[in-house]
Assembly symmetry: C2
Homo-oligomer: 348 residues x 2
């Protein structure tokens, strides 16, 4: 038994139906997943989309997207890049984030086609020390996170090129605008953010202007490629937006206790979810609160009546950190398990 | 490479100092950990404490407690019990939770000394089907979660005994009272909750009255044993209480970007923490917000001045779900890594 691996029996590892799953279990409804992918492909075919593996952390899932023509990926951690490279999904891998880990970059760049984002002399130096051949200049476009100013960008680009590095262009993430509800207001704000990025691009040069996310996939028309990942399964947070993406991911839980005072308890708690965007939703009633390994559900007269042993589906509020808590996606079509996708890109 | 395992080099797996850690990394300050353990032992020596492995999910850490005389453990998941049994820490294992997974109980009870909590006919039946020899009757003492009523408890106990099962006593968790700040008010409320448990115990019999947690460890004097785990490392949430337990656990992060507008960005984000009790704390300044793989720190004039490459320590708000996001504890004494404790009891 290795760290973090469950000593499951062969039968438990090969369940045929949702009823046979050890709970809590993360499931993806395959028809909804396929519809989400088709909706994205209709707007952003092939290399117009650079799927962001941070959302789903699975080379098995990434391969589904690569098979549909999205062969260039981006990632948030070196660990994600390492896993994608090991899986052969390294046609054009972008670390859309900063790192100072030159030793791991060196191992990566020796075996895979890797581009990394840089926004400072220090991150450029890590790229040089790591033998990285290609970079994007990361530009801050209004969200208080990584990225240099458009004035700083050309200096960094020049310094990188002087070191023999191919500066492919720029990236900038308008993450602060993902959840703007009004579409017209959102378009104006994204345009202003992208004006900053395009100003930097004019000075930096290169073919690539990378940005965006699931929340701006069809609004951000100023970039050459959109970085998006959450759309594949969506969540209750993104579901607030008017978008074609439907919730495809749930956590299956088992009712382990029913109290005559009016509540039922299931075996999926806050350790099975990311709670930064709020608690999960129980579509058939009201979730009262989550504990570590329990969620308490209200059993009102107008709710579905639950008995011990029943199974319920809870909907996560945030895809990315929820996925990072599980070992695999169980891929379902109705009650049948049709596939298992390992979540193999977790940790750091 | 197995699922969820990072393909780290040998050097990365054996860092000698905090500066050599791949970040984000979970560290435990050993002197503070030892002081927390000593403070607990002074009040609850040996079997007066039943350490709850759900908090730390590590057989390496559990062994430290067993070596100090706390040889009876409790757990929240079957997975935790399986790992404890595989590690030989199965002198007296309690599943302080309900389960219907009779096949896994059968495998467990064949190899380990296992007691499980039951609160219904269904969970009793799972115990019978799983060949479990010992149970506690779980009684609801005011928190809307698992547990039967004190009236229901003797019926279940009788039914269990009729099936040849040793009913060792009762358990009840006053989780809703952990964070009551006023000590006198807390004592009165805990007494009322425990009166319910003692009423059930009088009808059920047996030697064990199990309850409590880190927040009531020296106030709940009505039980025969306290279930507590968070005390070993504590967190910013428990730190609000007047208790002898100090924060021993941090996440080490690297500054990857500094913006002249007044913020710095580190590489530990919400995927490195449980955020259900709020965002982590940066003791040297203000944490603005967490993204998936970043936290943005305010760089005010009165804050510590950060440069790219600096390392910072962030303090988690909630031990249990934070631990469950990491593969190991790096045990430190000052800047030296003195041990690595695998977090091997995660998942389900």
């Amino acid at each position: 038994m290795t760290d973090g691996q469950s000593p499951m029996s062969a039968a438990q590892q090969s369940p045929a139906t949702v009823a046979e799953l050890t709970t809590p279990a993360l499931v993806i409804d395959k028809p909804t997943f396929d519809a989400n992918c088709a909706a994205m492909d209709a707007v952003l075919p092939g290399l117009k989309l650079r799927p962001h593996v941070k959302a789903f952390k699975s080379t098995d899932l990434a391969r589904q997207l690569a098979d549909a023509g999205h062969t260039a990926f981006c990632a948030a951690t070196v660990r994600e890049l390492e896993g994608m490279a090991a899986a052969g999904l390294d046609h054009d891998l972008l670390l859309a984030n900063q790192t100072l880990d030159a030793p791991r970059l060196a191992a990566l760049s020796a075996q895979a086609d890797v581009t990394i984002a840089i926004d400072s002399d220090e991150t450029l130096q890590a790229a040089i020390d790591g033998g990285v051949k290609k970079v994007l200049i990361d530009v801050e476009v209004g969200m208080p996170r990584c990225g240099c100013s458009p004035e700083e960008a050309p200096r960094l680009a020049e310094k990188a090129r002087a070191a023999g590095i191919d500066v492919r262009g720029v990236m900038g993430y308008e993450g602060h605008l993902m959840m703007v509800m009004d579409r017209e207001s959102k378009a104006r704000k994204v345009e202003r953010a992208m004006a900053i990025l395009l100003e930097a691009h004019e000075k930096v040069g290169g073919d690539v202007v990378s940005g965006g996310g699931t929340g701006t996939f069809d609004i951000n028309t100023w970039v050459t490629e959109i970085q998006a990942g959450s759309y594949v399964v969506s969540d209750t947070h993104y579901d607030q937006l008017d978008s074609p993406f439907k919730q495809a991911m749930s956590v299956v839980a088992t009712v382990i206790s029913v109290n005559s005072k009016g509540w039922a308890v299931v075996d999926a708690g806050l350790k099975a979810f990311g709670l930064d965007h709020g608690e999960p939703t129980w579509p058939d009633g009201t979730l009262m609160f989550c504990s570590d390994e329990h969620s308490t559900l209200a059993q009102r007269a107008d709710d579905l009546k639950l008995s011990v042993g029943d199974r319920v589906m809870l909907r996560p509020a945030h895809v990315d950190p929820t996925v990072a808590r599980h070992e695999q996606f169980w891929v379902t079509d109705g009650d049948t398990i049709v596939d298992r996708w390992a979540i193999d890109l977790r940790h750091w």
